[in-house]
Symmetry: D3
Amino acid sequence: MKNQFVNMLQEGDALNDYFVAARKDLRTKQDGGKFLGMVLKDKTGEIGAVLWNNAGDVARIFELGDVINVRGQVNSYQGRLQVRVEQITPLHENEYQVNDLINRPENTRDILEQFSAILASVENPYCSALINAFWNDDQYHPLFTRAMAGKKWHHEYSGGLLHHCYEMATLAETMCTLYPELNRDVLLTAVFLHDVGKLHEMTHELAVDYTTEGKLLGHLHIGCDLVQHKIDSIPDFPEKLRLELLHCILSHHGELINGSPVTPRTIEAIVLHHIDNLDAQTAAFSRIIRETREKGQEWSEYLPLIDRVIWAK
Amino acid sequence: MKNQFVNMLQEGDALNDYFVAARKDLRTKQDGGKFLGMVLKDKTGEIGAVLWNNAGDVARIFELGDVINVRGQVNSYQGRLQVRVEQITPLHENEYQVNDLINRPENTRDILEQFSAILASVENPYCSALINAFWNDDQYHPLFTRAMAGKKWHHEYSGGLLHHCYEMATLAETMCTLYPELNRDVLLTAVFLHDVGKLHEMTHELAVDYTTEGKLLGHLHIGCDLVQHKIDSIPDFPEKLRLELLHCILSHHGELINGSPVTPRTIEAIVLHHIDNLDAQTAAFSRIIRETREKGQEWSEYLPLIDRVIWAK
Amino acid sequence: MKNQFVNMLQEGDALNDYFVAARKDLRTKQDGGKFLGMVLKDKTGEIGAVLWNNAGDVARIFELGDVINVRGQVNSYQGRLQVRVEQITPLHENEYQVNDLINRPENTRDILEQFSAILASVENPYCSALINAFWNDDQYHPLFTRAMAGKKWHHEYSGGLLHHCYEMATLAETMCTLYPELNRDVLLTAVFLHDVGKLHEMTHELAVDYTTEGKLLGHLHIGCDLVQHKIDSIPDFPEKLRLELLHCILSHHGELINGSPVTPRTIEAIVLHHIDNLDAQTAAFSRIIRETREKGQEWSEYLPLIDRVIWAK
Amino acid sequence: MKNQFVNMLQEGDALNDYFVAARKDLRTKQDGGKFLGMVLKDKTGEIGAVLWNNAGDVARIFELGDVINVRGQVNSYQGRLQVRVEQITPLHENEYQVNDLINRPENTRDILEQFSAILASVENPYCSALINAFWNDDQYHPLFTRAMAGKKWHHEYSGGLLHHCYEMATLAETMCTLYPELNRDVLLTAVFLHDVGKLHEMTHELAVDYTTEGKLLGHLHIGCDLVQHKIDSIPDFPEKLRLELLHCILSHHGELINGSPVTPRTIEAIVLHHIDNLDAQTAAFSRIIRETREKGQEWSEYLPLIDRVIWAK
Amino acid sequence: MKNQFVNMLQEGDALNDYFVAARKDLRTKQDGGKFLGMVLKDKTGEIGAVLWNNAGDVARIFELGDVINVRGQVNSYQGRLQVRVEQITPLHENEYQVNDLINRPENTRDILEQFSAILASVENPYCSALINAFWNDDQYHPLFTRAMAGKKWHHEYSGGLLHHCYEMATLAETMCTLYPELNRDVLLTAVFLHDVGKLHEMTHELAVDYTTEGKLLGHLHIGCDLVQHKIDSIPDFPEKLRLELLHCILSHHGELINGSPVTPRTIEAIVLHHIDNLDAQTAAFSRIIRETREKGQEWSEYLPLIDRVIWAK
Amino acid sequence: MKNQFVNMLQEGDALNDYFVAARKDLRTKQDGGKFLGMVLKDKTGEIGAVLWNNAGDVARIFELGDVINVRGQVNSYQGRLQVRVEQITPLHENEYQVNDLINRPENTRDILEQFSAILASVENPYCSALINAFWNDDQYHPLFTRAMAGKKWHHEYSGGLLHHCYEMATLAETMCTLYPELNRDVLLTAVFLHDVGKLHEMTHELAVDYTTEGKLLGHLHIGCDLVQHKIDSIPDFPEKLRLELLHCILSHHGELINGSPVTPRTIEAIVLHHIDNLDAQTAAFSRIIRETREKGQEWSEYLPLIDRVIWAK
């Protein structure tokens, strides 16, 4: 069991506990020798770390994303806390608690069932076939249930992508009641698949980061490519439906400046974009208010991303 | 009963039917004489009109917003159709059908009841008192039920503002289920009041137009002023609640560039902004798709406001 | 042989000549009858046309993109010239000259050979295999040689896409001389494929227009999808090369606001973007200067797209 | 008398002097205990401070905005100077010099008289009544004379708002000479009232900060609300004049992006906006040049707000 | 004396009166013949004109900017009025009234004297020498006194530039009183010279238009070049003063996006920019309000340049 | 010979080696005494330095840009490394190696010859005369061959401006082959002169920095002024050619927002702008990739200037 969490560490602490190795860079010193720069992470945050001795050897005993026990000293370097590492020991799965390292809400299994029930109500056979092609894919399903929707801003926990999709599906159903002209099957399928590219854009293991593919292609294109591949496996998939679904995925960021190469041009696409945004921003405000209250403050810190402070009342 | 509607008129038609006088400008000719420029309107659209003889006398027999019978000729002037008016006769209320002149959906009464029921479920006594202060105001209530939410883009029909608020309330209830931390009473009260300033920003009679007050102050400020006035009449109205509600109204356009002097800084304000946007854009897409299909086209005309064409499939 | 070209027509002309039917809309009149709106096109421009009688029957005798002989009258409607059509006769291929209808530079065959020679110098076997997979595709090759790079701004003629690619390849070679660290094979393959999606984004027949797929997905995504499909057919295609090429295609518009979902992050991608832009803008300036001089003017008309006038000296 | 000023403090200094408590946050440590974070301020700047022992008790002996004597040590924490506090003693008014804590120009009384004289020249009785309603308000008048126009950029000293209004009034008079069509009474009343909302948007005591109302509603709306309230107390106040004045206040930031919900649409409103901007920017340049010269430099530091350096020659 | 002014002309009028030839384009018809396109102008506005017969010969008998008597017919072409010209007769100076053709305020001579007096108060001998180098230049002086500050938006009449500079000088003097640290001599010299480049950027004869030099270099650079040339003729002109003055001219548009290659970095430059803007916008509002009232309207037409309507009360 | 380079220094190092004095500020302490702030630079980077004793005397023994030997201690101050200086000794030219202090590629002489050969091929005699007026200017030529094109982003080494111009000339020649309508002489002359203003905008000695003239006027205007001065010395220089060349220089940043007061309006100007951009961005990517690889990383650090990371593969 873990005792020392990142958000508790203070200058001068002696450290001896386990973390995820979230970054691992073997670099060259001026004198030709090597040192090892790392980022250590647990469920409360992350901290930089550096190891000066035997860096080459130590770098070989663990991989990025492994859980390692770190012994060392907490120092201050250029105004930030940093661990000066003395010893690193890789741990086996039975030697650590995953829940010490990442956040996982307890109700994820319930949400999964409820979301599954909504998807089961889709009537169009091609939409169903496409949903099932992903749902029944042994590589896809476990990845989907543990993925985050993002690294920091909203639904930034294991299972976050599923929670986000479920909330959007609930909003989509309300919209279908208000606007019967909406194609419910297209909209729900698009909700399910809109962020599927994030499964490849980021790693969703203990260490979460953007992949090279993610940085070069982005999750909109990757998602379309995954969906296209599944569509290719469904006989007689209607061309019109294919275009509607791919358009929803490509346009769901709403504006070119936000990274969609096309803007929404169908009613399902415009609804998808706005419920995505509504849910994401509400979840972000909810997180910020919770964090602000935990610090005993009435107003949040200044948030550069949205250029404002938030009232936690 | 009306036979000649604006969207049927063609160059060369002899015209003899009634319209709303949606604009009325008595202007001076170079030779010092007067002529009368008008805009005529019915439920299908609007057309310019001009009267050259006796303009001063004729201008005195009707007011802006009156229903007048127009006799004249449909010409083309500078590339647009225009009525060259020969005779104008003001009509009495029993001489025309209001439904020929403005759009009014048939289900508005049902929507009013459903919306009323949602508002009745608000529990906070100060929120309830504020809602009732408007709902039971004889000047406000009939105006609210016939107001438009806008002149052209969305909910651009009599009763549109009510429909829009009802749809937002439905979405607000879904959001409260997903995010129990939302203050349902604040959110529903804000939904009800967010556009109340539009009742003074525009006229909502047969002729709809921006008022001088509307052009100078805008509906965000006017709405806050109306709400403040009602709050002043409720003893012990909590200051915190006053700030929350006024902030929701002022910030509901979401960004400075869209005319909000402050950006949303509470979770209810951010939800209000996004469900307003979601409902407005969906209604606009729905209208454009309907109009495009009525013209027998698959793709809409180019829409400068949103810089795209829309697929009506 | 054609005598009456679009840019010669004047109000009052009796018209009897052939054109491409570039648009064809059967619409409903207020009285329930039908009329036929069209756009007629030849190599000098396009003009609107309308047929009032027997519209339903006439609409059945030709398709969008057919060449039709049109008999009628040139009128002015709402400030623009328009053909009031009396009779339409579809023509067979031997009854018209394609060169009267579209622009085709004479040196296209030479350019094709030179471009082919440059591509043949690519050394990486996977790049070569990918290039050949397109070049030897019987559907692709003829389409590529007659495609335009755009409808209006630059290389807006049959073969324009080929000319544009060839010019970019020449510039790419200069850049490889100046910057030996550039991967010549990746860059030339990317030049060849960067706009391949335009082959499906637009029709490249007598009538050129955006397709539904083009409007919903855009040529960046379509191009990546075409390339991915060919890559799937090449055994052992390296993943790194796949990412480099797809990244070049997706990012070649340079900025999100210009429709690229990712910005250039490799040196080949940044070079591709800039030589595309350099060649496109130079070609556009060249065309505008030529057109301005043909009108006997020293300065071009105001160009809203680039917010300036151009000096034709 | 104060000896140790913020801008003199260096790492390692022993501190024993008085400051304004400009921020006071009682926070929870990881071990469940409390510590007290503060910001200390005097007329030369501000510095962070932290107290680790007995934080709960000490927090009770003074309020935000109080003047306190601080005994402690100046340390460096994460690259910034910080006071490690050992003892805090609240002072009485006779135990400190206000002029050590805030800037107050000596000529403020003269400026007040000159500004009063200009306002007295307003002829329109309703404008006069409105001006007097504020001027003779015992809550308003002392607040107005000590308020700052801003925290940092311009007129950032006690009395700054008055100085700024006086300078604008002088410019307004010049403009009235050049443009006799300007309504002098409207313009001068608007100058006097344009920033009145800042009296509630910020505190103007020893510690200056944005209030909750200020952060949620902004000074444009607050100002209009204050003015509306005074107008309500003046019988027969003309509606046209009410609209003109409120419009001037709401639009005086000039553009939506700068926080005005409406843009200036009267000539007095456009003049008000531009003289406000002219005076504010000139005052800011004047301050920056003075500070730059005091540091013995020819060029100012880089100023992110206006993205440039300024020449102090 | 002139009877028919541009703003009185109506479709069908027989025309026989004089105008300035504000544009003159000899163009080629499809059949190889020539026609002459013109723009005719008087003090009330401008109108297009076309001459079909003998275009080549007629084009030789007058120059752009000449005053010509035009006989013809007022028609409507593509939705705009146009003169179909039958005969053109060039007039001599004694055959027309300049005041029928351009606007010239009566008080220009007074303004010139007052402005001259202000400039005479400049004390710095190098500033004085520079001012005099322009003022005593026989080419410059008469051009300065009849130049416009712009074609349409503000001070768009003969003498407008002088009026604009005088108004700015008055504001500059007020600013020097408020901010004694301003260098009055630098500021007044900069006011005088800030738009001197407009004398070459546009023609300021009867026909006003941008010159080729103006379109290619802009008045900021041209102005600096003119000033530099005069400075070269003044022995020992201080380098610091040269930089201050050229910087004021180059930066007076305030922001890069408005065409200044550098932003204001001295206090005189920031004041110059803001008083220029203040005076220009006020003059524009004043003109729009006057024009709106003359049409008997309360609100102006929509003004695309500033995206609003203006209240003329 | 130098042993201690900036990028090797670590906290705690004793320092005794030579550097360029890249900044030198004598400042006032609170107690009235002086201290000396400096920036020290060599070919690997720069570091802040401070001297507390005898600051006034020491400041007199060297000038900004001199090479000085520094003895002191490397400390950390507010999170950054800083040299606490004990002794400063100015060096003579024979006491240091210039190549330790600045970067100078070895092939600069070759590039100079090749560039000279291209310029020699210019045929227009006025272009040639203008080129030679600079090339044969004893002040200009050595400055041109050692100047940098920029401080940091691209061609940021001694000789960089020459390399940049040579690369652009090579691209210009390719463009002239592809677009024979380009005026090769104008384009090559413009390439040679487009950044000539940088010779005065920055110092290009051991210490490189913006000059006061550079900060106030910018290199576009300074360049035009230098060119105008040379043109004045060439008899009968054609006005059209003068306008073309000055326009190329003024517009070569492409857009107002990038600091060009006019946008490109000739075909040579648009080509110049785009090849400048192409070469600059490619050189910057090349540098970033090299630096990233040297650190043993696959992806660059985040680059705020272009808002992305770059793949160094």
